[in-house]
């Protein structure tokens, strides 16, 4: 029997690279979340785009990591800057330097949740500023249980907030996730579970 050469060659997953991508994502996310000036946010768009490409290339090679990470981050930054454009609320209320609360709730939680999922799955500690800074100086060893993600990974993570239904696209497959929360933001024991086979493309109202 001849070997099927049409099958894409899957490279082994690279834990250190995944950590580097996720930590870069965290640094960029923290910056976007902190920054209220759209011009300042736009400065990092090339890095976000490069992160998105590196993440997608890696996912295509390995079926590991989360393919929506880069997409989420770029979409989040773009939408955030749109919220600061003249037609949006900051212009109506120039005293306010804060981003529209609805935007934070809908899009900020989404990107943050994915990064947290990846941090958890890679064995990186949940981040406080001090944790992040300490963590930056330590190159972690792969957790003993770490293995490359399979085609349909068990999406189990920790969330807090209000209930959401989120669609993820992973390795060419789409997943719907029901995010269940009890509304208590201090309760970090809520879980969400994914199930495969969904064709939904609705992504907090946008399409990809």
């Amino acid at each position: 029997m001849s070997e099927n050469n049409d099958s894409p060659q899957i490279e082994p997953a690279n834990y250190s690279f995944e950590v580097a991508l996720v930590r870069t994502a965290r640094a960029l996310f923290d910056y976007v979340e902190l920054e209220n000036n759209p011009e300042a946010i736009k400065k990092i768009f090339p890095i976000l785009a490069s992160l998105e490409k590196a993440s997608n290339d890696y996912v295509n090679l390995t079926n590991s990591l989360h393919p929506d990470l880069g997409l989420e981050l770029r979409e989040w930054a773009t939408l955030k800057s749109e919220f600061l454009s003249p037609e949006h609320s900051i212009n109506k209320s120039p005293q306010s330097k804060n981003i529209d609360r609805d935007f934070i709730d809908h899009y900020g939680d989404s990107a943050d949740r994915i990064i947290k999922y990846l941090e958890n799955s890679l064995g990186l500690e949940p981040k406080t500023t001090a944790d992040t800074n300490d963590d930056l100086h330590n190159i972690p060893k792969p957790p003993s249980l770490w293995e490359p993600s399979e085609a349909e990974p068990p999406y189990t993570g920790v969330i807090a907030g209000t209930d959401h239904v989120v669609s993820f696209k992973t390795g060419g497959l789409n997943y719907n996730h029901t995010l269940i929360a009890d509304g208590d933001l201090s309760n970090d024991n809520d879980t969400f579970n994914g199930k495969g086979g969904d064709a939904g493309h609705d992504h907090f109202g946008s399409k990809y």
């Binding site: 690279n14 250190s16 690279f17 950590v19 580097a20 991508l21 930590r23 870069t24 640094a27 960029l28 923290d30 910056y31 902190l34 920054e35 000036n37 011009e39 300042a40 400065k43 990092i44 090339p46 890095i47 785009a49 490069s50 992160l51 490409k53 590196a54 290339d57 890696y58 992040t132 800074n133 930056l136 100086h137 190159i139």
Partner: protein
């Protein structure tokens, strides 16, 4: 008038951006330091280049940060990849899949010292 405002805004120091750039530098540096495979190093080259471009752009706009940081890291990455090239394949065949120790000693400390300096300066570490 609006152009003038934009110019002024673009030239102000941005501590948040400085911190983000230095944190990314640390991430990239640690990855480069830990990685032995040339093909893996090349995977982060586009991300590295995008970071480098913004670092230079920010420095030129503001004269802030340390202008040598990107240069040192870039040089370090190039040297490291050169060590993985065919002329060093004999080392790899002999089972020395690690970068040459002299290289680490001579070049690795330079960007790390600059990053440490910036981390302290920006309050990322004490």
């Amino acid at each position: 008038m609006s152009n003038q405002v934009n110019t002024i805004e673009n030239n102000v120091f941005n501590p948040g951006l400085e911190i983000a750039l230095v944190k990314i530098a640390r991430v990239l540096f640690n990855y480069i330091k830990s990685e032995d495979q040339l093909q893996h190093l090349l995977q982060i080259r586009p991300l590295f280049d995008a970071w480098l471009e913004e670092l230079y752009s920010y420095t030129n706009r503001t004269e802030g940060l340390d202008t040598d940081l990107g240069l040192e890291l870039n040089e370090w990455l190039i040297f490291k990849t050169e060590f993985c090239e065919p002329e060093h394949a004999q080392q790899l065949r002999e089972g020395k899949n690690n970068i040459d120790k002299d290289f680490i000693d001579n070049y690795g400390k330079i960007p790390e010292n600059i990053i440490l300096y910036l981390e302290r300066k920006l309050g990322i570490i004490e």
